[in-house]
Amino acid sequence: MDLNYTPEQEAFRQEVRHFLQDNLPADIRERMGKRLRHNKDMTVRWQQILHKQGWGASSWPVEFGGPGWDEVRQLIFEEECAMAGAPRQLDFGLRMVAPVIMKFGSDEQKDRHLPGILDGSVWWSQGYSEPGSGSDLASLRTTARREGEYYIVNGQKTWTTLGQYGDWIFCLVRTNDEVKSQEGISFLLIDMETPGIDVRPIIMLDGEHEVNDVFFDNVKVPVENLVGEEDKGWTYAKYLLGHERTGLANVGQWKTMMRRLKEIAREEQDDGKPIIENTRFRDRLAQLDTELRALEITVLRVLTASSDPGPEASILKIRGTEIGQQLFELAMEATGHNAIAHIPDALEPDYDGPLVGSHNAVPAAGDYFNMRKLSIFGGSNEIQRNIITKLVLGL
């Protein structure tokens, strides 16, 4: 039992830190530090920089161009990136479709798709949820009908995050409706340039365009874009969701936000004094800091366990998202009634108009509103609790 990182791990941390100091562009650092609006350019540019270093895909094995790091190194890498103000890499390609292609895809699919994910030249989107299929994903109704060497896809996907930039989309589609719902699903890779695909924005409660509806109207998809076997897509989807849940703990990002929150607590004024001097506020910050520490250790315990993370990963999703939401709630409350003003233009770096209070107030309420999604997506926290009760506690 030793809570310290090994000297090798600490040396690795220093190496990553130095790289970030030298290579993370200042404009991206500023956008992230002030929590300004994300854009495609910053994500792509950063991916290219990491790729040049050979660190484009921290979780990939060496044979596919990854650095071959173990779980702890991956965590250190992510944490250092977040703390330095690097943008989050695009999970949809790197951590969702890529592991599925590596495990279940053909050699041709690996050769065709993995390099573009690694170098940032191809933007992937996720086509899982549908208007009638959220928590009950297996009830999905988008169909793919085989016609010669093509599947003809019809239906609608929703909550497609950043789908407005998408080059390719991986989709769960129904290929067989004569079997149990989980057994008739297939996993398709679809070029979003194909005729018949229509991406429409969904405006979120913070007024921002982050997610989309994607409509498929007789979209012709070559059969070679089927991953693995027809009707076996549910198995691949579950494999992918297992990967997603571990990532949802977001410890690196939350530690970064905690550091920012502590700065906010020193800067924002309450009766002419920093709000950190307000006992009630400070107690809540201290409580949250403690809970984040517990989460960090729980993540490390799960990641270093000899077996793959199983249903216990639901703990990470639940606590990770709840702690994240509380961080943004406290950041909003710290700015008090300055948070009520909504100045969307101030989310761009070139804004030089008036603010209400300090810059801390600019993203405060919008972030809090936006983060309500955390306990809903990726398997709602109610579903995660069901997983714990059924699969862990055996109830």
Binding site: S129, G132, S133, G134, S135, D136, S139, T158, W159, I202, I203, M204, L205, D206, G207, E268, Q269, D270, D271, G272, I275, N278, R280, F281, R284, M332, E333, G336, H337, N338, A339, I340, A341, H342, I343, P354, V356, G357, A365, G366, Y368, F369, N370, R372, K373, S375, I376, F377, S380, N381, E382, R385
Partner: protein, 382 residues
């Protein structure tokens, strides 16, 4: 003990709710907000015709002689429909200050003009750095000739830019946190040296920052006695807090209803999600919070007009404490139970959630009011 409304109060409530259901729909509300003013002349005139703008003013000033219970009924209905009109700013805050502290001439000039819908006003009090402390005022008013010269900045001025006239607090003597030395002044929005920066709020309302740069006002602009305005400020913020509590109760009720309805229509795993017990219990908790909130909104309204400062302050802070917490729980749970739809701009629930969130940040959040309740308890037991 009697919680019944009078026949007149029931009529007010019924007719207002009917009016809002027809004239203040989700789509129309969006238009009013997108106009950049968050207020609509037609709606405001209709409120005037219904007598809403006159309820709490004395009869000799074209008012109806009502009280904070009437305000509660109006605000609760507004909360159900998320009305963004400047009622709180104009009628409750500015109108309340003039009614309770104004000279006869001020009352005669202002209250009928508010009642008829001609005049919109706002209360410019809070300042940057103060957070919620009411005595933290640095804006100065120096006596000069036959009047005063005002200098300083005001923050979180609800509907400030939409007002024809402001009531601004300023320091005529004393230091930053002194309760003594505060005074209230009428300031025309268009007067020389007044800059009002208008901002949209996340909940569809408007908020403003006001800068006063050598603004000259006459002695007749002084509302109430010089140096003695703190009690008036505290009381009107209490009345505004009581009104906000009632608004939150209306919005909480609306969220409970919207959530119960949505979960009965949304199907997953072959059944309406309302069948899942974990969601049922969450809705039961939302309902409990809304009911507890309603009780405290009544307490707040019952004490809002009281001059027993300690009793009033305790009642108001207890109400805002529980209602701030309830608004948080009901808002968060409502969004959660709407699933992904709950975080989209197209759902009513997300708009209710945003208002319920920001209500907690106005006139002191739950932490602030817990501190007040706690201090009051200590004072009693010590």
């Amino acid at each position: 003990m009697n919680f019944d409304l009078t026949g007149e109060q029931r009529m007010l409530q019924d007719s207002l709710r009917r009016f809002l259901a027809n004239e203040y729909t989700f789509d129309k509300r969006r238009e009013y907000i997108n106009s950049g003013k968050s207020t609509d002349d037609g709606i405001w005139s209709a409120f005037a015709e219904m007598g809403l703008l006159a309820y709490t003013f004395p009869e000799e000033n074209d008012g109806l002689g009502g009280n904070a219970i009437d305000t509660m009924l109006v605000m609760e209905s507004f909360g159900r429909a998320l009305v963004t009109e400047p009622y709180l700013a104009t009628v409750v805050l500015a109108g309340g200050l003039i009614r309770d502290n104004g000279s006869d001439a001020q009352k005669a000039a202002i209250l009928p003009a508010i009642a008829s819908g001609e005049k919109r006003m706002a209360f410019a009090h809070y300042e940057q750095g103060a957070r919620y402390n009411l005595s933290y005022v640095n804006t100065s008013a120096k006596s000069e000739g036959n009047g005063y010269v005002l200098n300083g900045s005001k923050a979180a001025v609800i509907h400030g830019y939409q007002a024809h006239q402001l009531i601004a607090s300023a320091r005529t003597s004393g230091n930053t946190r002194d309760e003594n030395g505060l005074s209230l002044f009428l300031v025309d929005a268009g007067a020389d040296g007044v800059t009002i920066r208008d901002f949209p709020a996340h909940d569809g309302f408007r908020t403003a920052e006001v800068t006063l740069n050598n603004v000259k006002v006459g002695v007749d602009a002084l509302v109430g006695a010089a140096d003695q305005a703190f009690a008036a400020i505290e009381k009107v913020i209490d009345q505004g807090t009581a009104a906000l509590c009632a608004e939150a109760v209306g919005a909480m009720d609306a969220m409970v209803e919207a959530t119960v309805e949505y979960t009965q229509t949304r199907k997953q795993f072959g059944v309406p999600i309302a069948r899942f017990q974990v969601l049922q219990h969450r809705m039961a908790d939302m309902f409990i919070q809304a009911q507890q909130g309603r009780s405290m909104a009544i307490v707040a309204a019952a004490y809002a007009d009281s001059d027993d400062r300690e009793a009033r302050r305790e009642a108001i802070s207890q109400a805002k404490l529980l209602i701030g917490q309830g608004a948080r729980l009901v808002g968060q749970a409502g969004v959660q139970l709407h699933g992904g739809m709950g975080v989209t701009d197209e759902m009513w629930a997300s708009h209710l959630f945003k208002r319920l969130t920001l209500v907690n940040l106005l006139f002191g959040d739950s932490d602030y009011h817990l501190a007040k309740v706690s201090e009051a308890l200590l004072a009693k037991l010590a």
